[in-house]
Symmetry: C2
Subunit: 208 residues, 2 copies
């Protein structure tokens, strides 16, 4: 009876999450109605509540999905950077360049960061989701901080450096660049912010 035999288990759940992410990034979580999600996916309300016991569970699943995708992208990009360069500093700089290029080459504007969206509506969510969100930022901090300190072993900076802040600035540049890019409808803003961050990293460890 079904014209599509390609249906896999969990497929619907994934579709709901994808549609929900796009909607939340455009309108916020509260104004994303379950009604519109089921209409877009082509299921009924009962179908939705089969997958998620309430809207809060949807939020949690969205966050987990986002963090997973995010981690994978970062891993890929910076691994490729390191493959192109043995040196910790130059591998990192190549990684940052690849990162900027990835955003520059997106077919359309980046829809935004779910962590930022949730952050500006955090009273809607329970502590579990806020903790997930904080953990994802700490993962960025750890990743970049460890790299920066590794670089500092080979290239000791002449000035004292706030490594934590410099690590955070990677995430901060992305968040800031996404917001400005959206507000001005200019896709070039985000990659250029990342390249400026790259300039700062290079200047921090400059050997001249």
């Amino acid at each position: 009876m079904l014209e599509a035999a390609e249906k896999k288990p969990r497929d619907t759940r994934e579709k709901i999450l994808a549609v929900a992410e796009a909607a939340v990034l455009a309108k916020g979580f509260a104004s994303t109605s379950i009604e519109e999600l089921i209409a877009a996916v082509g299921i009924t309300k009962s179908g939705f509540f089969y997958h998620f016991k309430d809207k809060g569970e949807l939020a949690k699943a969205m966050m987990l999905r986002y963090i997973e995708q995010d981690t994978k992208v970062l891993n890929d990009i910076f691994q490729r950077g390191d493959e192109l360069h043995d040196d910790p500093l130059h591998g990192f700089l190549v990684g940052l360049k690849l990162f900027a290029e990835m955003f520059a080459n997106l077919p359309e504007a980046h829809p935004g960061c779910l962590a930022a969206s949730f952050c500006y509506q955090d009273q809607l969510f329970n502590g579990e989701i806020r903790d997930l969100n904080a953990a994802s930022v700490l993962a960025w901090r750890k990743r970049f901080r460890e790299r920066l300190e590794l670089i500092a072993k080979t290239y000791p900076p002449k000035q004292p450096v706030d490594f934590e802040a410099l690590a955070d600035m990677a995430a901060s540049s992305v968040e800031g660049g996404l917001i400005l890019g959206r507000l001005l409808k200019d896709q070039t803003i985000l990659p250029r912010q990342i390249l400026l961050y790259r300039d700062l990293v290079r200047a921090t460890f400059a050997s001249d």
Copy 2:
């Protein structure tokens, strides 16, 4: 009959806007109910709709109020910076330091940026509000870009510089710093991001 004779015209309107801003930054615009605003201010629903014909007009008034306050703060800070230093570069660097200190010395965590909050819910608003929001970012860009180009006349940078991106990075650092600060509940993140931006500006025009 009224125990308070201190009531001034427009006072209620201002109270509504202040309460609404705090609520929107905590929960988002959509989930900020008119009900809770009037409860906090102590008026009735009819009183609310006397001041704003609908929720959209409230949003517009919030945005206008936010932009006005924002402009005033920036003017004050960077004017003081320039009073302390004649040189365009060093006046700017002092201004950035004052800016960072302002955030560091806030009695409690900065509640967030209304422009960012609206940005992540922009489908809720009409074009007028989105235009206001974009204009406020362009005002930051213009302010910082003009200053950077002025500095470049005295301190020509040795490397080519993306002045637009470097100007945008001021706003971007604030937006990014606010988000990270909120997510990690750490008030020091934002001022430290601004100080890193200051480092980048200094390095860009370094004469050594």
